[in-house]
Symmetry: C2
Subunit: 473 residues, 2 copies
């Protein structure tokens, strides 16, 4: 563990123990440096982490204070226990109904799947779009058919290095967003009737894909911090003919969980032993709050069995629809699927993003974006503490922009959704993330929007709704 | 029939009869005006049509002459006779092999599916891409999720009026190119195992879609000018549980055939009687050589059963990947399919094309494009007459950029393809367009490239290859 993390843990323990109470002043950075023999940077970093987790608040020119809303930290959600056995999925109708309600810009988007458009470098992207289109060789419309533009694939391959991955440009297929990459991956490695292992809860688009391709879902239990339970997965592999896994191993949507590195290694090994392809949805890879990127399972893939799907939609250019699959040994088959389903990904878009990546500025943008998301996260956690009745459970994730909240057992998330929407607020109710309508007492909140009084008010309203439903039983 | 058409037909008959012989001077425009009592414009138009069909050549400042290469016009290809009964499709491997060979820019692209990139308004498109992206409201990345950008859907709906169609913006779903629209349409109205009626020959992407979705193809005979044989289709409907038709009723790829208006009306009526959806691929709609657009079958659809798929890829912006489906009663289901497979179509691309359409210039571009394609067509037909051995069959289509050529029965198109590729020339061999490897003696030639000596030389080389193979037997 990094020094600042250890320091933050120590201070958090002091707060949890009640030694330092809500509203009390924390030791100054200078004090910490002296007492703990750390550098000012480490002390600052520790406070940032504590702030992100909601333990402390900083006041300009005054220092750090124990969070006013902080009493005892909420408990963690429990390990999930989806029913055993695989199942056909019929989720789409529910999901579509809920998504419809979320699109209205007047509705407070706590149920949205998207980060705020305000966080992205639109002017710069527009400049690249115009100038790269002007310079584009018209013949590249033929040349950049799948697998896609060479230069872009090289840049993506280079970027994998920071994530501890050796990915050859040759195994990268450019797609129209991560969702296409995931769907093509699924179609490449399965046939109708096959059983697919997924996390419970899981991203609803995964359930929809399984439903539409006539597959069966096998939901594997997860832990709130670490995600998929590998023992449970191994047992499931022993019992079922699993043809593929579709997992989010980092900042999982909706949990926010991240499988630790050693478990990612074990996961890849386990699947390789059984020759099971892993479709790894890594849409939030760039949104880590820590400085260090998180290695994907792909980093440990020696057999070429991991189809790693990435995107620029969450970290750079929402709506541009540019993603990719690094598909290992399945790259050629996936490329062919791409050709027969949507032919190519928009060539000017490929050029523009490639030019943006080449020109630099991406890292600076990412630093700002990550900081903004971490702050919004902290603000949302604070608002929850302030406005939600006791008894809810949550784990602050280390990246992404979702919070998965387990409400008291007797609170029906679909009711929360319905009542909240009535008040002009959306939430994503747990059953959207389940093949069999599970997670009835869970909701996913979007923290991808710059925090405002309106959002704070929306959380307060949600808190009242939850309180009412908890009492009503 | 328009006056100029009638006049052209008359003159062509005179040539066919041998009254006017190759190299002889045709009546001057003034003479025609006087003798036939037509306007100079009509006379000019008639000569343009004759030139496009290869009957005459114009010599600058000298007038029109009977085409030197013209002896007797080549015969029409025969009505096709695919084997009866539906079949699973396994075409992809062959198609991919052939497409691979076509991507090399050094290869003369007679086998290509794309028109020359030189024919499109790139600078203007680039300007719109840059400026519309600069002006784009970032929130439109959420707002323009499927069915897509409102303004663009309105513009497309308005454009349908010129084609005699009443299409509501509400039934239009924006897609990433026509191929996505077609695939989504197919998935919307079928399930694995269903039987789909298609033309024989048909566009290979249709065969690949049928293969990948586990459907069965029922190939219906066609005539070289008119396309699908409606009597045969009606009989097939009586014998098989056909769940959908996937047809190109205008400038069919590869035939170039166009189903006449009354037969389109009959087709729609026939399918409505049996509640069979029609997936109408109308990718070449804008590429008519005549002034008048050709009505699609969609124009006669009262039951909402026609899913009409269009695109800007062939007429305005190749590689931008912007298409749509006007999906009638299936619009909502198709929109949902779109959301779950690729989520959205690139928003800046939607904005750019919408801005281009709004600003005007589209019609002027289309006029230039159509004229260029008609001229290239005529040049290709002339080159065929000059360089191909007698006995090939071809119909000059009224739009698009393909020629379907039936070679003597003993010439193997796959051999033609192989030998031609060896000489640096691609062709699209007939079996690519058949569910069961039919059309062994047919090839499709691309006339979408400005005519050059290189192309003329390539046709000469092809002619030699054909001659060699015909003799070899």
């Amino acid at each position: 563990m990094k020094r600042y993390r250890a320091l933050a843990e120590e201070l958090a323990a002091t707060i949890r123990a009640g030694t330092l109470r809500p509203g009390e002043r924390m030791p100054s950075v200078r004090q910490l440096c002296r007492d703990q023999r750390v550098s000012p940077a480490t002390a600052m970093h520790a406070y940032e982490a504590l702030e992100a987790a909601g333990y402390v608040e900083s006041r300009p020119r005054s220092g750090h204070y124990v969070g006013r809303a902080w009493q005892t930290p909420p408990a963690e959600p429990r390990r999930t226990r989806p029913p055993a056995g695989s199942t056909r999925v019929e989720i789409s109708e529910l999901v579509f109904q809920i998504l419809e309600g979320v699109r209205d810009r007047e509705v407070v988007p706590l149920g949205s799947a998207f980060p705020s458009p305000a966080l992205f470098p639109w002017a710069r992207l527009a400049r690249h779009l115009g100038s790269s289109a002007r310079r584009m060789d018209p013949w590249s419309t033929v040349k950049s058919l799948p697998p896609g533009m060479d230069e872009l694939r090289h840049q993506i391959a280079r970027r994998y290095l920071a994530f501890g991955c050796q990915v050859a440009p040759d195994e990268i297929v450019i797609t129209s967003g991560a969702l296409e990459a995931l769907n093509l991956s699924l179609q490449t490695v399965t046939r109708a009737g096959d059983t697919i292992a997924i996390e419970a809860p899981t991203f609803y688009a995964c359930l929809q894909a399984i439903e539409q391709h006539g597959l069966k879902a096998l939901e594997i239990p997860t832990r709130p911090r670490e995600g998929i339970d590998l023992d449970a997965l191994e047992k499931a592999i022993g019992r079922h003919a699993i043809k593929a896994c579709w997992l989010m191993t980092t900042f999982q949507n909706p949990l926010g969980a991240t499988l630790p590195e050693d478990k990612k290694r074990a996961l890849v090994k386990l699947l390789a032993r059984h020759e099971i392809p892993l479709i790894e949805d890594d849409a939030y890879a760039e949104l880590h709050f820590d400085e260090e990127p998180v290695k994907p399972a792909k980093a440990f893939d020696e057999a070429g069995l991991v189809l790693h799907c990435g995107t620029f939609s969450k970290c750079l250019a929402p709506g541009y629809r540019l993603g990719w699959a690094a598909a290992g040994r399945h790259a050629q088959a996936l490329q062919r699927r791409k050709i027969t389903s949507t032919l190519a990904t928009s060539i000017p878009i490929q050029h523009a993003i490639s030019q943006y990546l080449a020109e630099g500025g991406y890292d600076a943008h990412l630093r700002r974006l990550r900081q903004a998301l971490a702050q919004q996260h902290a603000a949302a956690l604070r608002a929850l503490r302030e406005h939600f009745p006791d008894g809810y459970r949550v784990v602050p994730p280390a990246g992404g922009y979702f919070l998965w909240i387990e409400l008291p057992d007797d609170v029906d998330a679909l009711e929360v959704h319905r009542l909240a929407l009535h008040e002009g607020i959306s939430v994503a109710p747990g059953p959207m993330f389940s093949a069999r309508g599970g997670f009835r007492c869970c909701i996913r909140l979007n923290t991808g929007h710059p925090w405002t009084d309106e959002l704070d008010g929306a959380v307060a309203t949600l808190g009242r709704v939850v309180r009412r439903l908890a009492r009503g039983k």
